[in-house]
């Protein structure tokens, strides 16, 4: 009996050893992967000569916020930030409204051509809108939406991603709930709005976060649509600092930090929505 116990124990120990080595590597790479962000943040707090000093200061010796003051003084950074927030927020709210309506119809209602339309919607998910950027830009031109936030918003609301994601949530609600409410005389819209929408709130939450971040980082389209100083978004504006004649890297890093912080905060506060939201998009089997 002693022998058996010892053997089992030894076996377990051996397994743990490999596990510990692998997890050690995982932690090592995780720290390494975060290093560029550490470097970004600490560089933004250095003055223009310290930031390029070799050998470098691993911790900033003197901390200065002057780079941040410069970013906000030299550039309309508040305007850029407002544009980014506005575009991301309006796109996301509009997307949630239109895709809730459509997802509900695809899940619970019967109408001719439903399956065909749904298949076309879903097939479009795999084609990034950027490949059709020329005709898309011409439409925006025809609609008079160049240099306007509207031009950045509406193409993003057209994506079928929300329908795809929310349909799964509506599917999990039993049909009987709708039928009994309908027999009691509630209109279709009342059933949708009062009963169904509250039940898919977790899906809406996940979609909100995912889409907000998606639009926030929608660099190429915003670059094309917003060409004048007033309609630039934060990502586009900050990226122009790279081409800025100002050679001070600390200044550029401060700009990049300004663009990074909002997303970092969102991630820290809403982490569970991300992890659930991203996995919902994937095939579950």
């Amino acid at each position: 009996m002693m022998g058996m116990f010892r053997k089992g124990n030894k076996n377990k120990k051996k397994k743990e050893k490999i596990d510990i080595i692998l997890n050690g590597l995982v932690i090592f790479f995780a720290v390494l992967n975060l290093f560029p962000l550490y470097w970004l943040f600490t560089s933004s707090l250095k003055n223009s000569s310290d930031v390029v000093k070799m050998p470098p200061d691993w911790f900033p010796k003197t901390i200065t916020f002057s780079n941040y003051v410069d970013v906000f003084n030299n550039q309309p950074a508040f305007r850029w930030a407002f544009n980014s927030i506005f575009v991301s927020l309006v796109s996301t709210i509009a997307l949630i409204i239109v895709s809730c309506l459509a997802a509900y119809a695809f899940s619970k209602l019967k109408f001719k051509g439903k399956n065909v339309i749904f298949i076309i919607f879903i097939s479009s998910l795999m084609v990034p809108k950027e490949v059709m950027i020329v005709p898309l830009f011409r439409i925006i031109q025809d609609l008079g939406m160049v240099n306007s936030l509207n031009g950045m918003i509406w193409p993003n609301v057209a994506t079928a991603f929300g329908v795809f994601m929310l349909k799964g949530f509506f599917d999990s609600i039993p049909d009987s709930l709708r039928e009994s409410a309908r027999i009691d005389g509630a209109s279709e819209f009342t059933v949708f709005y009062r009963i169904m929408v509250p039940m898919v709130k977790p899906g809406i939450g996940a979609l909100f976060i995912l889409n907000f971040v998606q639009v926030w980082n929608d660099y190429l389209w915003q670059l094309v649509v917003g060409q004048d100083e007033n309609s630039k978004t934060l990502m586009v504006g900050i990226a122009t600092l790279m081409q800025d004649l100002n050679p001070n890297f600390a200044y550029k890093m401060a700009g990049a930090t300004v663009a990074a912080v909002p997303m970092l905060l969102i991630f820290i506060f809403f982490q569970k929505y991300f992890t659930s939201g991203i996995s919902i998009g994937a095939v579950k089997e």
């Binding site: 397994k15 490999i18 596990d19 692998l22 997890n23 590597l25 995982v26 995780a30 720290v31 992967n33 962000l37 470097w39 970004l40 390029v52 239109v98 459509a102 119809a105 019967k110 109408f111 001719k112 919607f121 879903i122 097939s123 479009s124 998910l125 795999m126 084609v127 990034p128 950027e130 490949v131 059709m132 950027i133 020329v134 005709p135 898309l136 830009f137 439409i139 057209a158 994506t159 079928a160 329908v163 279709e188 949708f192 980082n217 990502m235 900050i238 990226a239 790279m242 890297f249 890093m253 990049a256 990074a260 970092l264 991630f267 982490q271 991300f274 992890t275 996995s279 994937a282 095939v283």
Partner: protein
């Protein structure tokens, strides 16, 4: 009669519910695809459009920069997707059965660069790699390596961009794998352990085959994402040196918005559209099988 009227009403309700989404979809998704195909057959000079058949395509295939862009895009897709899948499998299989706090800490650490966005990460890397005062060339000089200009060297620029893109984006694949691995029933591992399987055997023979649908999903989503790789090129190399790092999306953008070659740019878009469509067939089939 009554039944017919009921079904008309039911149809109408359905259409009303999908109308806003459908309208936006037709204007901003379907129409641009059709219009893009049409434009790719035209020569476009400001106001005038001349039908030229497949000439835009013929000229593209004869253009060395387009060929280089295509080759680079394929190289990026192959290496970035392979690195992402292998590394994400390695991280996720090491952490998925550990305690929840540890899992969410590791997952978060790898996901933060994804959140922070490719724009910001490209700016940091461009500073880290700057030949005059970047940290990495400094380290290379300390190690007495011959080349310190990583982005200016035609042989090094592709590996560097592959690494930067992979390191920034691998977090989404890790999140997907961890979620999928946590979903595998525990008793399968316990049974294997009782039979004396080592951890590595469990990972390679049970875990990785069980998460195959996730692997397929990750591969396809990453192919589509890398296909439109743009930001990192624009901010790190500008396609250089000497077009060594140009990609299809970057080539399309330059033709459309710098050289005003809208017909050529549309043709590139159509080619990319077809590639995306062909690549997504396995994923679409998997999704519809489920329904």
């Amino acid at each position: 009669m009554r039944i017919k009227r009921e079904s008309i009403k039911e149809n109408l309700t359905g259409y009303l519910f999908i109308a806003p989404q459908l309208l936006l979809f037709l204007v901003f998704v379907v129409y641009p695809i059709i219009e893009g195909i049409r434009l790719s057959l035209y020569r476009i000079n400001y106001q005038s459009e001349t039908f030229i058949g497949f000439e835009n395509y013929n000229r593209l295939f004869a253009d060395p920069v387009f060929v280089k862009s295509t080759i680079n895009t394929v190289v990026f897709v192959v290496f970035i997707v392979a690195l992402t899948v292998i590394f994400a499998l390695f991280v996720s299989s090491a952490i998925f059965d550990k305690n929840a706090k540890y899992v969410s800490f590791i997952r978060g650490s790898y996901y933060i660069p994804v959140m922070v966005s490719m724009v910001v990460m490209s700016m940091v890397w461009s500073f880290l790699l700057n030949p005059a005062n970047g940290l990495i060339p400094y380290a290379a000089r300390q190690l007495e390596l011959t080349s310190v200009n990583f982005l200016g060297d035609t042989n090094l620029v592709l590996p560097v961009i592959i690494f930067v893109t992979f390191a920034t984006n691998v977090g989404s694949a890790i999140i997907l794998y961890v979620a999928s691995m946590i979903g595998v029933p525990k008793d399968i591992f316990e049974a294997a352990e009782i039979d004396g399987a080592s951890r590595l055997e469990i990972i390679f023979k049970i875990l990785i085959p069980m998460v195959k649908p996730t692997t397929i999903y990750i591969i396809i989503m990453n192919i589509i994402a890398v296909l439109k790789i743009f930001v990192v090129i624009q901010l790190l190399t500008g396609g250089g040196p000497n077009n060594a790092s140009t990609t299809l999306m970057y080539f399309l953008y330059n033709n459309a918005f710098k050289y005003n070659q809208l017909g050529t740019a549309s043709a590139v878009g159509v080619i990319m559209f077809l590639i995306a469509l062909v690549l997504s067939i396995p994923q679409l089939r998997a999704m519809f099988k489920k329904d």
